[in-house]
């Protein structure tokens, strides 16, 4: 579904991604792991063009996305993104956060958008908070609203950039539960996370990055039970 071919990206002199090749299939849950600075967040952000790659290609459904010729807004419409720091719109209520893009981008009618938004908020367990403002919510609730907001665009892929890293430990569970239920429903997901428990349980494939390269990939069992690379072993010892 998404195919990355020899993708490279630098920030100034710093090479963050080096020759990344990766394919993500429909309904697959891919978890990216690696030490901080390994390039996993940048890789995720390249997928929806929040960062523009220096070289290489990204194709979606076998169609190469030419950054200069394609309307990237249309590409992004189909990719939901969930951020580490939620990035909810603080001046809008929970419901307004969720209906903003469907109304503004997809030109849905307000009634239609509200109806779908409420069903999504029910799904993430926050229908009763629809008229609250983000600052009245806990971190876990904020992140669940952010997930609902991304789902409101009916994306074909969901990208998660360390969705639980900014949460208090007791709030991590509720967000992971929401993500698990998404995975169960067949959503294609790419997740950057340090939650190895989630990776073991939900991932179809785990990808280990180090210094901007994919150094190892495999099923959770392969990676966690029998890692082959020295750096993977070291990394897993540190986080597990």
């Amino acid at each position: 579904m998404i195919k990355l071919k020899s993708l490279s990206k630098s920030f100034g002199d710093l090479k963050v991604l080096k020759d990344i090749n990766l394919e993500i299939n429909k309904s697959e849950v891919v978890v990216l792991i690696g030490a901080s600075g390994s390039g996993k967040s940048t890789l995720l952000r390249c997928m929806n063009f929040l960062e523009i790659l220096d070289s290489g290609t990204i194709s979606i459904d076998d169609e190469i996305i030419d950054v200069k010729r394609t309307n990237l807004n249309h590409v992004r419409e189909n990719m939901g993104m969930v951020f580490q720091h939620f990035n909810l719109f603080p001046h809008l209520s929970v419901l307004q956060n969720v209906i903003e893009a469907p109304i503004q981008v997809k030109r849905q009618s307000k009634e239609e958008a509200i109806q779908f938004a409420m069903s999504l908020l029910t799904r993430v367990g926050l229908a009763d908070k629809a008229n609250y403002f983000p600052e009245q919510l806990s971190g876990g609730q904020k992140q669940r609203v952010a997930i609902a907001r991304a789902l409101a665009m009916n994306p074909r892929v969901m990208l998660f950039d360390e969705p639980t890293s900014a949460l208090d430990p007791e709030l991590v569970g509720e967000v992971l539960e929401t993500m698990k239920s998404l995975a169960k429903d067949g959503m294609t997901m790419v997740v950057v996370t340090h939650e190895m428990g989630f990776a073991k349980e939900v991932a179809d494939r785990v990808i280990m990055l180090a210094d901007g390269k994919i150094i190892e990939e495999g099923t959770p069992v392969e990676i966690f039970k029998a890692p082959k690379q020295e750096r993977t072993i070291k990394f897993l010892q540190q986080v597990l």
Binding site: N48, L50, N73, H74, R76, E77, M79, G80, M81, F83, H85, N87, L88, F89, P90, H91, S93, E100, A101, Q104, V105, F133, E135, R149, A150, M153
Partner: protein, 231 residues
């Protein structure tokens, strides 16, 4: 006691005239600040655009306007504008004042736009919204709110600066004081009276802004410390 008697008599004789002149001052302030906000917003966009040429244009404008006394710009623009177009003194005065305040308001808007977390733009873009739509729907409403205290300050400065157009023959409040003291020979008392008028105007402006600020706070922190506005 002479002073107070004189002040009272000036109020009695000229109170109504001064009030009429006050209306002109208010009109001048509102029109010029409206122009200034439009200019300010455009140049603020130039400055955050990351496009070199636009940034340079904005910087040049701000450099020139901030680097010269208002009275010099006023004279220059007044004679400049009226040599090209035939404009009323009022229009020339408010355009000149607007161009002046615009530079300061551009910096206020730029600062408040840049103070919004980068994640807000990213969240908007990641949902498929365009740069301008995200600006308009997400960034500007938040930055406008943050700009209000500084904006209120600038508006009060603009109100007081409008007194300088007295020198290009607009018969607003200060112009009226100038001509009144010229024939009643009571400069101290006349300027005292006009000072009171300005004080009340600024007070009303301040109250208005405080109200606006607390209204925009609906749904957010209910009890927030009021921002005091310096006169």
């Amino acid at each position: 006691m002479d002073f107070l008697t004189n002040v009272t008599s000036i109020f009695q004789k000229h109170g109504i005239e001064f009030l009429k002149a006050t209306v002109l001052t208010i009109e001048l302030t509102i029109v010029s600040l409206f122009i200034a906000c439009v200019i300010g917003l455009v140049f603020a966009f130039f400055k955050v655009s990351n496009i070199k040429i636009l940034e340079s244009i904005a910087n040049a404008y701000i450099f020139v306007v901030r680097g010269m006394p208002l009275i010099v710009q006023l004279m220059f623009l007044y004679y400049g504008i009226s040599s090209i177009f035939t404009l009323t003194d009022f229009a020339a005065g408010s355009i000149a004042l607007g161009i002046h305040s615009g530079a300061y308001i551009a910096e206020i808007f730029r600062g408040s736009i840049q103070s919004i977390d980068k994640g807000q733009m990213e969240a908007g873009r990641s949902l498929g919204m365009t740069y301008f739509k995200t600006m308009r729907r997400i960034i500007l409403p938040q930055s406008f709110k943050r700009a209000i205290p500084a904006l209120a300050n600038q508006f009060i400065i603009g109100l007081k600066d409008s007194s300088l157009v007295a020198y290009i023959a607009v018969s607003e409040l200060f112009n009226h004081a100038l001509s009144t003291q010229a024939y009643n020979y009571m400069p101290l008392e006349t300027y005292f009276v006009v000072g009171i008028y300005y004080l009340i105007l600024v007070l009303l402006f301040t109250l208005l802004f405080n109200k606006l600020e607390s209204r925009l706070d609906v749904g957010r922190r209910k009890k927030r410390d009021k921002v005091e506005i310096a006169f």
